[in-house]
């Protein structure tokens, strides 16, 4: 029983389909105005601090932010809808990572345009199976 559950959990971690609905591949979007603070190396994937500073292009303001972890079983970590009309935004959070990967931040502006930036990290143990 325990063995099969473990196998199931492992399979869910490793074999999850990387399906996302995006207007364009992320790496074709401009990364101008997005600064990410993310450690290059993390001991565990249980809590990796993440900070994003976004500056909108002149004349535009932010509508939404998405934090995407492509190698996680559920890749969309956070979808933030912003109601004011800020041209600048600083978001800080902590993320759980299933594996070493790049975290992507997608910023959506009021004219519907998107910008994206990514930051890679290497982790030495997964957050999927550990129970701490």
């Amino acid at each position: 029983m325990r063995r099969s559950s473990l196998a199931w959990a492992l399979g869910t971690c490793l074999l999850a389909p990387h399906t996302l609905v995006l207007s364009k591949p992320l790496n074709e979007l401009s990364s101008d105005g997005i600064e990410l603070v993310f450690p290059r190396l993390a001991d565990t994937g249980n809590a990796v601090p993440f900070e994003a500073q976004i500056t909108a292009p002149s004349g535009l303001h932010l509508k939404a932010l998405k934090v995407i972890l492509p190698e996680n079983p559920n890749p969309v970590a956070l979808h933030l809808k912003i109601m004011g009309q800020p041209a600048q935004y600083t978001l800080k959070t902590r993320l759980r990572l299933a594996a070493s990967q790049s975290v992507w931040l997608v910023a959506v502006f009021n004219d519907g345009s998107e910008r994206a930036h990514h930051a890679p990290t290497v982790i030495t143990s997964t957050a999927c199976l550990d129970d701490s």
Partner: protein, 109 residues
């Protein structure tokens, strides 16, 4: 099952009308992702905070959909524009089991 979840909301930075401060919100929620198993080998059902909403003077300023990649305790920091009259910042959350919570802090200029 529904023991109280400790939540905390802190407002940091200089509170000046027209300026921006940082609101830091955290909740000591187990954030069970649904992928883990307990000591007897049973899968722990998914129970995470899936929605967080922030209000300034009862006006929605931010709504977040959270996924399983958010840590336990869950932590989120976001900017709040200080209105001239000051006011109250309120954060409410809801998890998969239907439990809800609310925390608020006063902005005094």
């Amino acid at each position: 099952m529904s023991s109280p979840i400790l939540t905390r909301l802190a407002l940091t930075g200089p509170v000046k009308a027209g300026g921006s401060i940082e609101a830091r919100w955290s909740a000591a929620h187990p954030m069970n992702s649904g992928f883990r198993v307990d000591d007897s080998g049973h899968r722990i059902p998914k129970n995470i905070i899936h929605t967080v909403k922030a209000y300034l003077n009862d006006r929605l300023i931010m709504e977040a959909d959270l996924g399983t990649a958010m840590t336990s305790p869950v932590y989120l920091a976001f900017p709040v524009l200080v209105p001239a009259e000051g006011g109250i910042v309120k954060v409410i959350w809801q998890d998969d089991s239907g439990q809800m919570g609310e925390t608020q802090q006063r902005l005094v200029i």
